[in-house]
């Protein structure tokens, strides 16, 4: 899906907990998320820290939209 949107010239920041899948399928801007049931959330964290975590992911996603991409841009989620 993301690829078809990019094909039309609209950049897509794809946040996914399973980065290898969009990598294999050929998405262009990929941001690693936390977990499949909650890619941009982490129930293990206290609410304020969870929101900070989510802000970090969204901020990364916004950054990719303004980044020139040659091949594939993949930002993995560092350790928990």
């Amino acid at each position: 899906m993301a690829k078809e949107i990019e094909r039309r010239g609209i950049p897509v920041a794809l946040i996914s907990a399973i980065a290898p899948l969009p990598i294999a399928v050929g998405a262009n801007r990929i941001i690693g998320g936390r977990a499949i049931p909650h890619p941009v959330g982490d129930p293990a964290l206290p609410p304020d820290e969870e929101r900070t975590f989510r802000k970090m992911l969204v901020s990364r996603a916004l950054d990719t939209l303004t980044t020139e991409v040659q091949d594939q841009l993949v930002l993995p989620l560092e350790g928990p």
């Binding site: 899906m1 399973i18 977990a35």
Partner: protein, 348 residues
């Protein structure tokens, strides 16, 4: 001849532990067959034996891959199989990924490995080059057929015989191409293909052009602060009650919902109907899938100009590639029409 030693891999559901609520259970191993392994054992009869069954929760494998890997390596070393058979995983993406991982680990240890899943399982693209995958139907109704195809392949790989072309041996192409001598010459084959096309019959190209094409990356946004962004998600997040009846799996439709004026997605008004994972956490706070709360914050701060009033939603669970492409095209039409410059896409 001694019997072929087979180690079987299944997920928590087929191991009888439970469904989505148990998807986080860690890896275990038991001696002998379990669940669908009983079918496998019956098919193998005199030629092979299921010596052990490894099982694990689907989420666990994918979220704690390193820990799962260590356990699988230890189990495989302990039981020294001649071949590993994983699945069948049918269309379940996470189960497919787990099967692929187990098989890839086996291959690294020098053990032949076979998995079985539907050709459109997302794990196929990731693992097909490393692992022999027997194609299955979409649902468990075809368990017997799927298992018997996989076990035939497993026995062959465990033996010393060279394995033939994918179409003849019944596995999904690993993307490798080798020369073969055909029984008919190029002229007969070309004109046969011609006649099939002219008659409107099915024909098989001998050399498929690649389908997973690379899309040229869209140019970056020049001025984020002047851009309109839209949210697209395959997380199945819909207004509570799912008035449109979006499917929780194998979705054939997508829907658009207004988020105009909403500061965040409240759990009173929104829920995820995704059928591929435990939605408890998401339903407690839907912003864990769709980060509307945070996006509003960035919008208010002027990081980007405006969040589009419409959000686009489908369910990315065992959906076919063709549907995914169609959704992408249709949603693109809407995005272009409404002047959206960039997209935040959350996939689950």
């Amino acid at each position: 001849m001694s019997k072929t030693r087979v180690v079987h891999y299944i997920n928590q559901f087929f191991a009888g532990i439970g469904g989505e609520d148990q998807a986080n259970v860690g890896p275990s191993v038991v001696e002998g067959p379990k669940g669908p392994g009983l079918v496998l054992q019956k098919i193998l009869e005199g030629s092979g034996e299921v010596v052990a069954t490894i099982y694990c929760g689907d989420n666990y494998v994918n979220e704690f891959e390193e820990k799962a890997r260590d356990a699988f390596v230890e189990y495989l070393r302990r039981y020294q199989p001649d071949v590993v058979l994983a699945g069948p995983a049918f269309t379940s993406g996470r189960y497919g990924l787990a099967c692929g991982l187990v098989c890839a680990i086996a291959r690294e240890l020098g053990i032949p490995a076979v998995s079985a899943m539907h050709p459109e399982n997302p794990a196929v693209e990731l693992y097909r080059s490393r692992v022999h995958i027997a194609p299955t139907a979409a649902t468990t109704a075809e368990m017997l057929d799927s298992m018997s195809r996989a076990s035939t392949l497993a026995l062959k790989l465990a033996g010393d015989q060279p394995i033939g072309p994918a179409a003849e041996e019944g596995y999904l192409s690993r993307g490798l191409r080798y020369s073969q001598v055909a029984s008919d010459d190029v002229g007969v084959r070309t004109v046969d293909m011609l006649m099939k096309r002219l008659r409107g019959e099915d024909f098989d190209t001998e050399w498929p052009v690649p389908t997973y094409d690379r899309v040229r990356p869209a140019p970056p946004l020049e001025a984020l602060e002047q851009s309109t962004l839209a949210i697209v998600t395959s997380g199945g997040v819909v207004p509570k009650g799912n008035r449109d009846g979006l499917q929780s799996a194998r979705a054939t439709r997508w829907y658009s919902y207004s988020i105009a004026g909403r500061p965040s997605l409240s759990s009173e008004d929104w829920e995820s109907i995704h059928g591929g994972f435990d939605t408890t956490h998401a339903n407690r706070d839907p912003n864990r899938i769709v980060p509307l709360d945070v996006l509003r914050e960035f919008e208010a701060r002027g990081a980007f100009a405006r969040l589009a009033d419409t959000m686009y939603v489908t369910t990315g669970n065992q959906s076919g590639l063709e549907n995914a492409i169609r959704f992408g095209e249709e949603i693109s039409d809407e995005l272009v029409k409404t002047g959206v410059d960039g997209v935040i896409f959350v996939a689950t």
